[in-house]
């Protein structure tokens, strides 16, 4: 054990900043990789992380974390626990691994960029730990599903998904390239570590951990709650970065970066976490609704923290964000269940009588809005015509979030003024958006986003052949065996019939 207290040597060993003489600042820290926003180098040296860890503490803790989680996995792997899990819950897990595992590696690129191009040695030190953290998350979340391959072959989408052109994978890549891969170090600290990790990852990794323990999925619960202990530390790179921007008159830059990434994060988590919590998790094990988790983790915890830095809620907070909180993920669920062959998991309709009652209780008015669509679907299933519940064509997809445009359902439910998508004509091309904030994000950085082809652009542009559902599924990497089906083979409709 060292005889000095950590505080007596920590700053000295960490602060390796000096004035460059052999190269200039721009050569060592190019703006493209590390935007200073006009703040001089020496000001950045005041960067001071609030959550400190030394290298020896780091490796000691990490080895213990892995030993704990892998031993749970090893014991449970010999049990029948996974076989006995609810089919809807299994779908949530298969969706999670496909959407998250490889992006963890990608997040490692964002961390390593800060580890090299962060503008203070203290920051580069924290980001190096962050890079090791994300490497751990990528490894552990490809290994756990690997151990389940003999029970669920689609667990290989943990590794496969992000390497395909499946539409959800395109949406995930678009988001993560914007946030980590194609982002400069300063913006990454605010968008990845602060907005995404201090805010939204808690929803999926702790909200789902809460449900996992109730469902009896100790494996997943232990895994994701352990991952989040790394996030709790390295997400603290956001605070000192915001402080420096604010102290140096660049508060608007910080606000803009948060406004941009908060909305993008909201959309992807409404898709992944919203549906998992409110439809796939077995009713008897739901601890809270998605909206209640959002209120706890985002609307209170995250907002309190980021307002503490002098920032304000994004401009779209009241009208667009709080509005969508009531309806957006319900509309996505309806769409994803309908277009179920296009996803790598088995969407669980979750439409038994008791589940519908729960939805109406948590989201008053649900029966009169979304319930009506499900009435028609249920009638078709009961009439022995499930083929009528399947799609023959494609929805429009937003050119910002790359998620299908579901505004007609939001309009029908009374939350939007118009069912029409928003359009933008730019340099001879027409772009389609699902919402005002998505259009705003695009317009703020149109040079950055205008070249991307969404899945529907590719379809209409002749890149997907033959131009039908079969051709599109093949383009998305989905063999017939991999295409999603109803998770319970329509058991919910039969149960409904009896009720």
């Amino acid at each position: 054990m060292p005889s000095l207290a950590r505080s007596e040597w920590y700053d000295l060993t960490r602060d390796m900043n000096w004035t460059l003489s052999y190269v200039d600042q721009e050569e060592a820290w190019p703006q493209d990789l590390s935007n200073t926003y006009g703040i001089p180098a020496e000001k950045w040296w005041g960067w001071d992380e609030p959550y400190k860890v030394t290298y020896s503490e780091y490796v000691h803790n990490q080895v213990g974390k892995d030993a704990g989680v892998y031993s749970v996995n090893s014991v449970i792997g010999r049990s029948r626990m996974f076989d006995e899990l609810d089919p809807g819950w299994k779908s949530a897990i298969v969706a999670h691994y496909g959407a998250i595992a490889v992006p963890e590696y990608i997040a490692g690129l964002g961390e390593s960029r800060m580890g090299r191009f962060g503008r203070a040695a203290a920051w580069r030190n924290m980001a190096t730990f962050g890079c090791l953290d994300e490497t751990r998350h990528g490894q552990i979340q490809t290994y756990f599903p690997y151990t389940l391959l003999n029970k669920e072959p689609r667990m290989d989408w943990a590794h496969k998904a992000l390497h395909t052109n499946e539409w959800g994978a395109i949406a995930a890549r678009h988001l993560f390239d914007d946030m980590f891969t194609a982002n400069d170090a300063v913006s990454t600290a605010i968008q990845l570590t602060f907005t995404f990790e201090t805010g939204f990852t808690n929803l999926q990794f702790l909200g789902m951990a809460a449900d996992a323990m109730n469902v009896g999925d100790l494996d997943f619960g232990a895994l994701i709650s352990s991952i989040q202990t790394d996030e709790a530390r390295h997400s603290q790179q956001g605070e000192p970065t915001i402080k420096i921007l604010v102290e140096n008159g660049q508060k608007e830059v910080a606000q803009h970066l948060v406004d941009h990434m908060f909305w993008r994060s909201w959309h992807v988590f409404a898709l992944l976490t919203g549906i998992s919590m409110d439809y796939y998790t077995p009713l008897e094990h739901r601890t809270h609704s998605f909206k209640e988790f959002m209120n706890e983790w985002i609307n209170k915890q995250f907002i309190d923290q980021f307002r503490d830095f002098g920032l304000e809620r994004p401009w779209y907070w009241n009208e667009q964000f709080l509005g969508e909180l009531e309806w957006y993920h319900h509309a996505l669920h309806l769409g994803i269940w309908t277009w179920r062959p296009t996803v790598w998991w088995n969407p669980d309709a979750g439409m038994s009588g008791a589940e519908r009652e729960w939805l109406e209780e948590k989201y008053p008015g649900w029966n009169d809005s979304f319930g009506k669509y499900w009435d028609v679907i249920t009638a078709n299933v009961r009439a022995g015509k499930p083929e009528l519940t399947l799609p023959e064509t494609f929805p429009m997809v937003c050119n910002m979030c790359q998620i299908p445009v579901v505004s007609p359902a939001g309009y029908a439910a009374g939350f939007l003024k118009s069912p029409a998508p928003l359009l933008l004509d730019l340099e001879g091309r027409r772009y389609t958006f699902c919402s005002e904030p998505c259009k705003w994000i695009f317009e703020q950085s149109s040079a950055r986003f205008k070249g991307h082809l969404g899945i529907i652009d590719r379809f209409l542009g002749g890149l997907i052949q033959p131009p039908d559902l079969g051709g599109a599924l093949a383009y998305m990497g989905l063999s017939p065996e991999e295409c999603g089906q109803d998770a319970t083979n329509y058991a919910w409709a039969r149960e409904n019939g009896k009720a």
């Binding site: 609030p50 974390k65 808690n202 951990a209 323990m213 352990s226 709790a232 923290q305 503490d308």
Partner: protein
């Protein structure tokens, strides 16, 4: 204390699989924040401990509650998240928020 908005709660969120440690953290936080209303929400997968606006956790109180020596850096494997801003010194962790509105 806040005026017309909600009470801002700050404090640690401990992994649900580390129940024993969570109990000790609760006991220590109660000792370290006299006069404050400590709330505990057990969500199964995580245990949220909250104190209005400012939450102290000292190494000494945590060691008393655990009955053994414990360095604060050893809390990390169980600390899944926290509400508020954090400040870590050799002898205590502090979660806090400054803005009043």
């Amino acid at each position: 204390m806040t005026t017309n908005t909600h009470v801002k709660m700050v404090g640690p969120v401990i992994r649900g699989v580390d129940g024993e440690l969570a109990d000790a953290v609760i006991e220590a936080i109660e000792a370290d924040n006299p006069g404050s209303d400590v709330t505990v929400e057990d969500a199964g997968g995580y245990i949220r401990i909250g104190v209005p606006q400012r939450c102290r956790l000292s190494r000494a109180s945590l060691e008393d509650a655990l009955g053994r020596s414990f360095e604060l850096s050893e809390l990390e494997p169980s600390l899944s998240a926290f509400a508020g801003r954090i400040k870590v010194t050799d002898d205590e962790m502090l979660w806090y928020l400054e803005r009043q509105d």
